[in-house]
Amino acid sequence: MAEYSALALVRNALNGNRDWKPAWRKPEPKASYDVIVIGGGGHGLATAYYLAKEHGVTNVAVVEKGWLGSGNVGRNTVTVRSNYLLPSNTRFYEHSMKMWEGLSHDLNYNVMFSQRGCLNLAHTPAQLDDYARRGNAMRHLGVDAELMTPSEIKRLMPAIDISAKARFPIFGGLMQPRAGTARHDAVAWGYARGADRRGVDIIENCEVTGFLREGERIVGVTTVRGDIRAKKVAVAVAGSTGRVMQMAGIERLPIESHVLQAFVTESLKPFLDTVVTFGMGHCYVNQSDKGGLVCGGDIDGYNSYAQRGNLPIVEDVMSEMLALFPGLGPVRVLRAWGGLCDMTMDGSPIITTGPLPGMYLNCGWCYGGFKATPASGWCFAHTIVRDEPHELNAAFTLDRFHHGILIDEKGQGATPRLH
């Protein structure tokens, strides 16, 4: 029987909530494991979960330097979508979308996945043509996409300014109806509990300080809680990839760490039930179940490990949001925060074996890693067990940059701040 159910709620309500177990244990690290996953964020926990569930590999440790969900999985703007142009991205993110659709049931944990749609607004006829092209590419691969007219958009979100005198008038938009939002902390907690119940050790406050080697081969990690050996060491540390890989002697990677800011306003009555993005600049907004508007925009645009940003981006995001919804003028911002983004040179991720023997690397999520969480863990687990990528992540190699097979969704070239 499922651990969390209506019956369990009733039973615990009647007996004073004495039967609930902690969602995951707090084990001491063992001397060795089959697989160590470095990084207890969404991707690392999902990887451990699918190692156990799909491949029966349960002698696994997830080592996390802080507490679970202290990194990007607790810092993002919760949007889940698969509206990409290039086939290798579209297939991967659509696989992720399908996993999201069954995730609460699979994990027996409510991740509050809400398919409220994601609308990209077009502000010029050329941009609308471009969106039509992307929509057609998506539909060609079986992903849902619909072009919307300004009047349809106005019906969907009455607060939006579609007038011709708007600074950037709205010509239409590309809607992915199955896109939406999810409760980000629940994703981390759900995967953690699912992995823990299958025997995975989740070891918090266990910062990795170096790698154990036998010759070239990685055979474990040194941590602040002692050495841990493993047959395979998987790295899923997002914005800290550069720092961790330097411990392994890899000085340079096709990655820059940047800071992405996000904001939430005070709670409002429900007025926006879709994720909407401003197309003349970069701003995305959704309204949380608590009523706050969760929004963000571009990355700050310079290397940073600081988890906080600067004011020019704050001004950009707020002015773009006001351009869309002029009525939001009096609303106050409650909180702002920053997260680290591992920006690659083509804006697409890396899930691969190597670069050293015994090591596996999952990184390069730029600022779009949250929606990828299920498929990333699923593909990474496959790659770790089989020592070769799944067809879905075969294109996401580390050496694609040196072979000229980039996956550059926007055609920006090797300038991470523009992706």
Binding site: S240, G242, R243, Q246, E251, R252, L253, P254, I255, E256, S257, G301, Y302, N303, S304, Y305, A306, N310, L311, P312, M345, F401, H402, A414, T415, P416, R417
Partner: protein, 95 residues
Amino acid sequence: MLITCPYCGPRDLSEFTYQGDGNRTRPAPASQDLDAWNAYVYDRLNPAGDHNEIWQHSGGCRSHLRVVRNTLTHEISSVGFVRGDAHARKPGARK
């Protein structure tokens, strides 16, 4: 974040354009060493701590600047011209 331009003095971040890692070495234009070109175009040092990087004061004097900035604190410890002091002549001076 303020960057102190050697010409213009302390100016707001929004006047500057980031041009990235200043530790890269561009191969000679005629070089056919593909590995060196690939490393120049795609590979980055990305340190947590002091970072040697290039900025342009694009909203000001348009000078290219070499900045050492701490990526953990955003603290800037030095700013100079990319081409060294030769560019630090007085405005209007000729070669």
